[in-house]
Structure formats: C-alpha cells, structure tokens
C-alpha cells in the first residue's frame, strides 16, 4: 500500500469564511516577506470534523470533543435517582479519568468540567454509559477498576486522523495520522495600508486594473493553498488494523476538505467554497509541502491559473531535484480553461468521485 497520501488544494474563500482573531481581524501570516491571510489548521480540522459530509460518511465511528463528561454523568445519575452528594462524588471521579478538574469559581455551581477538551471515541462513551448504569444499580462510588474507561485505539475515525492529547493520562494519547498545514493565501493580503497606497488609482479613475478575482460572494478574500498529509500506516494502526474504516476516513476527509470551508462568522453569505484545484499524491516517498511555490506572492489578473501553474512547476522542480515525489498523482480541476496537468510520471485527471476511488485503490 502507499504509505503517504498528500493533498494540495487551491480554494477561493470569501471573507465570511475567514478565521479571525479576538478583535475580528482576519488572521495573517508573513511568508516570503509579504503578509498573507491565514486560516488555522485547527479551524480547518474542526470544519471538516463537524461537516455533514463527515458525519454522514462516518456515522457511528466518530468521537466527541467535550469538557463536560463529568457533568453529563452527574445529570444522568441524579435523574436516575441517586442522591446529589453521592452523584457528585461519582461525577468527580469520572471526570478525573479524562483530565484535571477545573476549579469552580466563587459562587459558581460545580459543573464537573475538566480543564481541557478531550476527544473520546464511541466505545469509550459506551463504557461510560454502562458505568453510570452500574453505579445507579449498586448505589456506590466507582472503584479503581470501574474507571478503566479509556482505550488506546478508540474506533473513531476523527481521533485516528487528528490524534488526541490527554494531559492527565498521556498513555492514552493517539498520534495524529493526518497533518494539516495552516492555509495561506497565494497572494498578499490587503491591509489598511493598501487603502493609502491605492489612493492614486482612485484619483485617476483608472478602471482597467480589474479585480484580482471577485468571488461569487461579491468580494473576494483570497485564494488559499492548503496542504494535508495522511500517514496511511499510522491511520490503520490507530484504528487497530481496521483498514476498511481507514479508507472510509480518508475518503470522508478528502470529500470534506475539498467541499467544505470554515465559516468564521456564520452570516448572510451562506457561502460554500469548493476547491478550484486538487492535486492528490500517493507514494512511500517522504512527504513535502509545495508552499514554496508561493514564496513570491502571485499577482495580477489570473491568480487561479497562475497559482496552479506554479504549484505544478514546484512539484516538477522537486521531482527534478530529489526524484519523483510520489508514485501516482491525480488532479481534480474546476478551472475553466485548465487542460492537462504539466506533471511527469503517472498522472490522472477526473472528478472528485474518481479521486476517492483512486485513493482506495492505493491501499
């Protein structure tokens, strides 16, 4: 099987979908000496994990990210008739399995919350449910033995892909099988300064500069390069050897990553950004991002075409320097005027559905 899968995406996001800081300003990064818009990998991963595409594809094989397991247990225990005080003791012990309890502030009701979010898989939740039943039936606090709720390899595709970290019990950490880079624009970001710089264009009524690309939402935020790398072996290992589920997870991720985009602020845009271009690679070679293609910001009118040309040129340049970067490549392009990939080696071109099949064939 191919050890690594790499996905390189070019997606045009409208401003509504940007990842913003606490002052509402879009997040940025400096690359190649120029400022770019940035969408953090956390934001991307969350978008994909919570997308309906992902949930439908992986239904019961998804985890839950929460701080409130203790509170949920407490509520259920009380509901089933356990005395408040005993239920509170149980809830504290249960919450303690997953992390350090957050101290309740003065005058704040105890919520049995833990300090960090924890990602738990379906059978871990089931074990927790079973424990609650037992405790109610036997009306006691949990023993050491009852509290073995965690699994080393939970059967949750999202945990297997993105990993998890349990500060309190590191032996139950799961090494992420999928790495996601922050998405950055291939061109420079507009800043207030641009409004100062652009005064001259305003004064001379020069209409012919044309918009870089005004997205369907009316005004464009940027064309982003996103890089995703999946370690297939690690993924299968995380899923306890279930390669069937691993392939489902890969397919779901490819689908979600190309067809959903973050909604930094849910608002009137209701925008949906599909990737304009996807280059998928499979092979055993060491993975590498192609972001070097955009060290010099893309400028001018045809940003999308230019960006694709640069991306393929960069892949070819790496091939030339280090040998083929992948065994097989597959391109999905939704760019009017895009004909054939200028890449060496085995390259196919097709639809997203065909890409998903092609990924499966590499197992």
């Amino acid at each position: 099987m191919s050890h690594f899968i790499q996905l390189h995406l070019l997606t045009s996001y409208p401003p509504a979908n940007l990842n913003r800081d606490d002052l509402g300003r879009p997040k940025t990064a400096i690359m190649g000496g120029a400022k770019r818009l940035r969408v953090s990998s956390q934001s991307l991963k969350r978008t994909w994990r919570t997308s309906s595409l992902f949930t439908e594809a992986l239904s019961e094989y998804r985890g839950q990210r929460t701080k409130r397991l203790g509170k949920q247990a407490y509520d259920r225990l009380v509901e089933r008739g356990m005395a408040d005080k005993l239920a509170a003791q149980c809830a504290e012990k249960i919450a303690g399995v997953f992390g350090k309890l957050r101290k309740a502030g003065k005058g704040e009701a105890h919520e049995f919350e833990i300090e960090q979010l924890v990602h738990v898989g379906p059978e871990e939740l089931a074990a927790l449910d079973a424990l609650v039943e037992t405790l109610v039936a036997e009306n006691r606090v949990p023993e050491e033995n009852d509290l073995k709720l965690l699994r080393h390899t939970p059967a949750a595709a999202d945990i297997a892909l993105f990993g998890r970290m349990l500060a309190a019990v590191p032996e139950y950490n799961v090494e992420a099988a999928c790495q996601v880079a922050h998405a950055i624009t291939v061109h420079t970001a507009e800043v207030e300064d641009d409004y100062f710089t652009a005064v001259d264009d305003l004064n001379n009524g020069d209409e012919d500069r044309g918009a870089a690309h005004i997205g369907e939402a009316g005004f464009a935020a940027g064309l982003f390069y996103t890089y995703i790398c999946i370690d297939r072996r690690q993924l299968v290992e995380n899923l306890d050897g279930d390669s069937e589920l691993a392939e489902r997870a890969i397919a779901a991720l490819a689908d979600a990553a190309t067809r959903t985009s973050p909604k930094g602020k849910q608002n009137s845009f209701g925008s949906r950004a599909y990737a304009s271009y996807v280059l998928a690679e499979q092979g055993d070679q060491q993975p590498r991002s192609l972001s070097a293609a955009f060290l010099r910001p893309v400028a001018g009118q045809d940003q999308a075409d230019e960006a694709v040309a640069r991306l393929e040129a960069q892949a070819s340049a790496f091939d030339g320097a280090y040998g083929a970067g992948a065994e097989r490549r597959f391109v999905v392009a939704a760019l009017p005027g895009y004909e054939t990939p200028s890449l060496a080696g085995e390259v196919s071109k097709g639809t997203l559905g065909e890409l998903v099949e092609w990924l499966k064939a590499g197992r």
């Binding site: 300064d193 641009d194 409004y195 209409e207 009316g218 602020k265 608002n267």
Partner: protein, 233 residues
C-alpha cells in the same frame, strides 16, 4: 482633500500619552493629531482611524504594536513634534456611477430616538439595543451575535443611499468595542462604541459619496470613527 498615514515618534511623546494612545485612548490620539493643524481654529478639519503597526519587515522598520493613524483632512497636515512620519497624498477620487469599491469603515452605530417630553433625542447604540432582549445568560449565544451583526448591517444599509452608494453584498462586521474615555476635567467618562465594517460598495451618486468621504459616517468622529476608507478592488 488629503489622505495621510501618520506614525508616532517614541521620542517626542511623554510616556503617559504613549501608553494612553496604545491602550486605545482615543482622546489622547485626538489631541495628538490636532498638533498637525497648528493655529487652526474652528471645526475639526480631519477624520481619522487608529490602527496598529503590523511590524511588517518588508514595509517599514517601525516595531509591531505601535499606533498608526489614517487621517483624512481638508488641508495638508503640518509636520509636528511627536509625530514621526506623515506621508500625505492628495485625495480627489474620480468616481463614476456603477464603480465598485472595496471599503473599510470604523463607525459608531447609533440612532437618535425621540423621547416624549425630553428636550433632546437620546442616542442609543444599535448593537446594544439588539442585545437587550436577550437574557444575560444568552448574550454570547449565536442568536444574539446574529441579531447584533444584523443590527450593525442594517444601520449602514439605511445610511448607504443618502450617502451616495449601495451595498451589493452584505459587508463583514466585527470588532465591536465599548470605549470609555477620560477627558481631563470631566467627571464622567465619555462612552461610545465602535464596530468595523469591511466590504464592497457600488457608487450610486459620485458627488454625494465624495461628500460622505469628506464628512464621515455616523458619530464619534472626534474619537476615530467615521472615516470611510475606499480603494478600487
């Protein structure tokens, strides 16, 4: 008109005023910028907007986090002690009906409502008004945030036509802030709020829009609100 980009000189400022400006003290900023118009006596001849130096290595050497001002004035600002660098450009946009412009605006979105028996119509903040119906526990809920964003958008939408433009797409709204300024010699703090808009506008009446640019949008203009920044997209 003139549009200027103004940076601050650390050597020419007292520590107090620098800290106050860096803390977003719009009153100190307002006083500082007045120094660019020495001897001027009359109505405030400028609008401004305060930003922060991004410390972008490729652009300038100013360290990150220092205040940076954009200033629109009806006369050329004079260089001044305490203001490091004033880059100034004549600002005389050539606009036609149908032109689309990218814009940014920091505004104080208030409406004046007549109250029976009161001499003045008290002004109220439209975002606050949108927030009010929600019980305290729900004020960070998505619904409440939506309602506030919608109120902020409506505020600009209702002003657009009379200001010479229309909004072909809903603008982005963000950075809603409450300010309280202490003016020396005043007992109470001056309170106002601001919200940042960003989006695309279409020119419907060039003459009217140029007037709007000169006069600013909304209130609290002495405190860095109302400057409509535009550029060709």
């Amino acid at each position: 008109m003139y549009l200027s980009r103004v940076r601050v000189d650390l050597n020419g400022l007292s520590r107090e005023s620098l800290f106050e400006i860096m803390g977003g003290g719009a009153y100190a900023a307002h006083q500082l910028l007045w120094q660019l118009f020495p001897g001027h006596d009359g109505a405030r001849p400028f609008l401004f907007r305060q930003e922060m130096e991004e410390g972008d290595a490729s652009q300038n050497k100013a360290p990150k986090g220092l205040p940076l001002f954009y200033l629109l004035s009806d006369r050329e600002p004079a260089a001044s002690q305490g203001l490091l660098e004033v880059q100034c450009k004549p600002f005389a946009p050539t606009l036609a009906v149908g032109d689309q412009l990218a814009f940014r605006l920091r505004a104080n979105p208030t409406v004046a409502r007549r109250v029976a028996g009161a001499k003045h119509s008290p002004r109220s903040d439209v975002l606050m008004a949108a927030k009010k119906p929600f019980p305290p526990g729900q004020r960070t809920s998505t619904e409440c945030v939506h309602a506030m964003d919608a109120a902020a958008r409506d505020w600009l939408e209702t002003r657009a036509e009379g200001s010479g433009f229309r909004l072909p797409v809903a603008p982005e709204v963000g950075a809603y802030r409450q300010h309280a300024l202490n003016k020396p010699g005043r007992r109470d703090a001056i309170q106002f709020s601001s919200v940042d808009y960003e989006g695309l506008l279409e020119v419907t009446d060039p003459g009217r829009l140029i007037e709007t640019l000169a006069q600013g949008v909304g209130r609290a203009k002495a405190f860095g609100c109302g400057l409509l920044l535009v550029r060709r997209p």
